[in-house]
């Protein structure tokens, strides 16, 4: 446990609390956004990367969102972000979504204090460690990429209404799908990040990532098809891959 209270960034819905009434702890910074659902997942991870030890998202309790269901969008994003944080080796408790009814008697300050104590209780911030930074960067890039965002944006449509083929996807099935895709995208962007530093072989990547070389190769095949990665050179019998500029 470090001696200083953790630096916490709180993204707060414009409509949730009245600014004048809040007593905000010193270590917490409140940034007002139009709706808590407006928070780009990539932006949340970027905030961690920039040094925040905890991120709070404060919105309104369903069903009272000023934008109908912005708070539910935030819920979905946080669900995905927590998965990514686990993959990145960061405690998912560092990210918290709070949907608070304005009629509640508790003050925002109390929530903020509780959260910062929770974060404080976690072990020292691992945010300085290089591997975590690599992981977080990979996670951030994954959330700014097409596949995850499409899935996130479509979740409601797919699970509660129908897809283009008139099928409704059960929630568990969707979650399993999301798990797979989050994992795959995370690994791909980590590979992308690692090969950006220098060209690497499948074996080396498998070692760093801690997965089977065959799995790495499968990802690389996929990434080559998408134009994310290319063969750099062959050293002896080992092909080395290098990341391409995406977009």
């Amino acid at each position: 446990m470090s001696s200083n209270p953790p630096r916490i960034i709180c993204f707060m819905c414009n409509w949730a609390f009245c600014e004048e009434e809040m007593c905000i702890p010193y270590n917490v910074d409140v940034i007002r956004v139009m709706c808590v659902g407006r928070m780009d997942p990539a932006l949340v991870l970027e905030t961690f990367l920039k040094g925040a030890e905890g991120v709070m998202l404060v919105g309104c309790k369903p069903p009272d969102c000023h934008f109908v269901d912005g708070n539910l969008h935030a819920e979905r994003a946080v669900k995905m972000l927590k998965k990514l944080l686990v993959l990145a080796g960061l405690e998912p408790e560092r990210l918290k979504l709070m949907l608070i009814s304005p009629l509640e008697d508790r003050d925002f300050g109390q929530y903020a204090k509780e959260f910062s104590e929770e974060v404080w209780r976690l072990r020292d911030s691992p945010l300085k460690r290089e591997d975590i930074i690599i992981n977080l960067t990979a996670a951030k890039e994954a959330t700014s990429a097409f596949r995850l965002r499409v899935l996130l944006g479509r979740e409601e449509e797919l699970t509660e209404f129908m897809n283009a083929y008139g099928e409704k996807i059960p929630e568990e099935e969707f979650n399993a799908l999301l798990d797979d895709i989050v994992k795959a995208e995370f690994i791909r962007y980590k590979i992308h990040y690692l090969t950006r530093i220098k060209p690497r072989s499948v074996k080396e990547l498998a070692q760093i990532l801690g997965i089977k070389p065959s799995a790495v190769l499968r990802h690389i095949t996929n990434m080559r098809r998408k134009g994310m990665i290319a063969l750099d050179r062959v050293e002896g019998y080992t092909p080395l891959y290098k990341a391409l500029e995406v977009r």
Binding site: C35, A52, D64, S101
Partner: protein
């Protein structure tokens, strides 16, 4: 033929429904943020009577509220009353007098809602305005016809004091047609005159026995009570009519000692013009309702009322007012034993005080004909509006007429075209067209502040508690208009809009699904397009766009990141 330029105003349904177009969304948004004082200021921009309308307005805004589709309308009127009461609780607000910018004097005849609003608006523009009122106190029907238990006298006095603060002169006890005439006013140097004398004479029943002792018209009855005159109230009272005045008269009679009060109405309950909750309150007071009956004659004994003889009615085809026409059933006479009859059938203009030159020649229709757009009469410089031109209506409609007259008078005195750009079409921006997402949710709470007729003293005890609940109630506003124009210092709110980078857009449809407002549609090229009139700038699309093709004009991702960096650098 010259092409008419129609001004199109895009307003949320509540504001569009309000005759005076009070900026409902703005003050509700301010209440939501706990800015009660600013909320009253916003109301005062369009309406000089926040506390009065908060009590007795028929709230067309609530009927139009889009939230109805979700659960129930936002309690707009109760919110308005609450903020006005909170303001008063902290002491009467004394307005700064507006400096007289112009020298042309304006005379306003009639100190009712229409006249006072016109005076208020003109005083704000900087004209010296004088209001002439026949009674001892200004306020018109608000003061003399709405009973104390619905609208306290000090509330009216308070709102009028605010208008006086602005520099409006109110001369009471001056009767138009007797003490002053159009000519005398012109001679005194008044350059424009607004006639807003309202409808003061109660309509007659036109049945035999109307001149018996114990028959008193509802308007006269209420006025006498308001003036504190002694009148004999019978033991059994029959009120005839189904409007708010009838309900008011019945409840007043009951509260002043009548043992039994009945309301006789010729149509059925659905057709009653009175407000439903007023009817409920009357029922709670123990007032009996008899529907589908009409008086045929009033039977007297020794010159006093003994009974009303009535005919039964049945409902026929709908008439021009949309209500079903009552048709009397032959030989259905029956009697109600009463000793007082209060006809409340509506009011008429007191034509005797109006100069004959103003009266319309036609038998049918309103006796005073005015241009509905500019409220001009056939005498230049003389305008008329409010009940006098429209027939008995509501406070808020009178306010609308007063505002209209003020604009006309200002233009007339400045020598501008009275008609130019006046006609406006109002387009409702009910963004919530797609109720697909909303149907799932159900209303779970009763609106906590809807307590329509607490007295001020009673409400005072609740104020603290209500403040919080009011914010919660205001919170339910969906904000149908693109921007509330509440002019609060909300940096975020200043019309943020989504912008699509067309080169990046792949037409994946995510934004179309995500947008809560339905502001984004794909065009024929398959590229997303933002309808800026509808976009509320929530940024949900920007947060979800898979290609990051959408960005926000004001609060872009980069800006949020900047804010994060500055916060962390602290």
């Amino acid at each position: 033929m010259t092409e008419k330029t129609l001004q199109i105003r895009k307003l949320p349904p509540c504001r569009a429904a309000c005759p005076a177009h009070v900026n409902v969304q703005a003050y509700v948004a301010l209440i939501q943020r706990g800015k009660f004082k600013e909320a009253v200021e916003v109301i005062r921009k369009d309406l000089p009577f926040p506390a009065i309308c908060g009590r007795v307005c028929f709230s067309p805004c609530e009927d139009a509220c889009a939230r109805v589709n979700l659960d129930q309308a936002v309690a707009i009127r109760a919110l308005k009353r609450l903020v006005a009461d909170i303001e008063r609780e902290q002491g009467r607000v004394i307005a700064q007098p507006v400096p007289k910018k112009y020298s042309e004097k304006v005379a306003i005849i009639g100190g009712g809602p229409a006249g006072l609003t016109a005076a208020y608006e003109l005083a704000k523009l900087g004209y010296p305005v004088t209001v002439f009122e026949r009674m001892d106190e200004p306020g018109g029907m608000m003061r003399y016809c709405i009973p104390d238990f619905r609208l306290e006298k000090f509330v009216v006095a308070n709102e009028i004091a605010y208008i006086k603060d602005l520099g409006v002169e109110i001369k009471t006890g001056v009767e138009f047609g007797r003490d002053i005439t159009l000519e005398s006013l012109k001679n005194e140097g008044y350059k424009a005159i607004f006639i807003a004398i309202g409808t003061q004479v109660g309509m007659k029943l036109n049945v035999p026995g109307e001149d018996l002792e114990g028959v008193i018209n509802a308007v006269d009855f209420l006025r006498a009570i308001a003036l504190g005159k002694k009148i004999v109230i019978g033991e059994k009272v029959a009120v005839i009519g189904g409007g708010n005045t009838a309900i008011d008269a019945a409840r007043t009679a009951k509260k002043h000692g009548a043992k039994e009060v009945m309301i006789l109405y010729r149509r059925s309950r659905e057709e009653m013009p009175a407000l439903p909750h007023e009817v409920e309150l009357a029922e709670k007071d123990g007032i009996k309702f008899y529907f589908l009956v009409t008086p045929k004659q009033i039977i007297g004994e020794n010159g006093k009322v003994k009974a009303v003889e009535c005919l039964r009615m049945r409902l026929g085809e709908p008439d021009e007012s949309g209500r079903r026409r009552p048709i009397p059933i032959a030989f259905s006479e029956h009697q109600y034993e009463v000793d007082m009859v209060i006809p409340a059938l509506g009011q008429l203009v007191e034509t005797s005080v109006l100069p004959p030159g103003l009266l319309s020649k036609e038998k049918r229709g309103p006796p005073l004909q005015v241009d509905p757009l500019t409220l001009e009469t056939n005498i230049p410089g003389v305008f008329a509006g409010g009940d006098v031109a429209t027939g008995p209506a509501s406070i808020i409609e009178a306010v609308a007429a007063g505002k209209r007259a003020a604009v006309s008078i200002h233009r007339y005195l400045r020598g501008e075209d009275l008609r130019k750009d006046r006609e406006e079409a109002i387009e409702e921006t009910t963004w919530v067209k797609d109720w697909r997402l909303l149907e799932k949710k159900e209303r779970r709470y009763e609106s906590p502040i809807e307590k329509p007729h607490l007295s001020f003293e009673e409400a005072r005890a609740y104020l603290e508690k209500l403040k919080r609940q009011a914010r919660f109630e205001a919170f339910r506003c969906l904000g149908c208009g693109p921007c509330a124009e509440c002019l609060a210092s909300m940096d975020l709110c200043e019309g943020d809009k989504a912008v699509v980078d067309e080169g990046k857009c792949v037409g994946c449809n995510v934004c179309v699904v995500v947008c809560p407002v339905g502001a984004i549609k794909k065009n024929e090229k398959g590229v997303a397009q933002v309808n800026e009139d509808v976009c509320k700038g929530c940024g949900l699309c920007a947060a979800r766009c898979p290609e990051q093709a959408i960005s926000m004009k004001k609060l872009s991702n980069e800006q949020i990141l900047d804010m994060v960096l500055t916060a962390l650098a602290r």
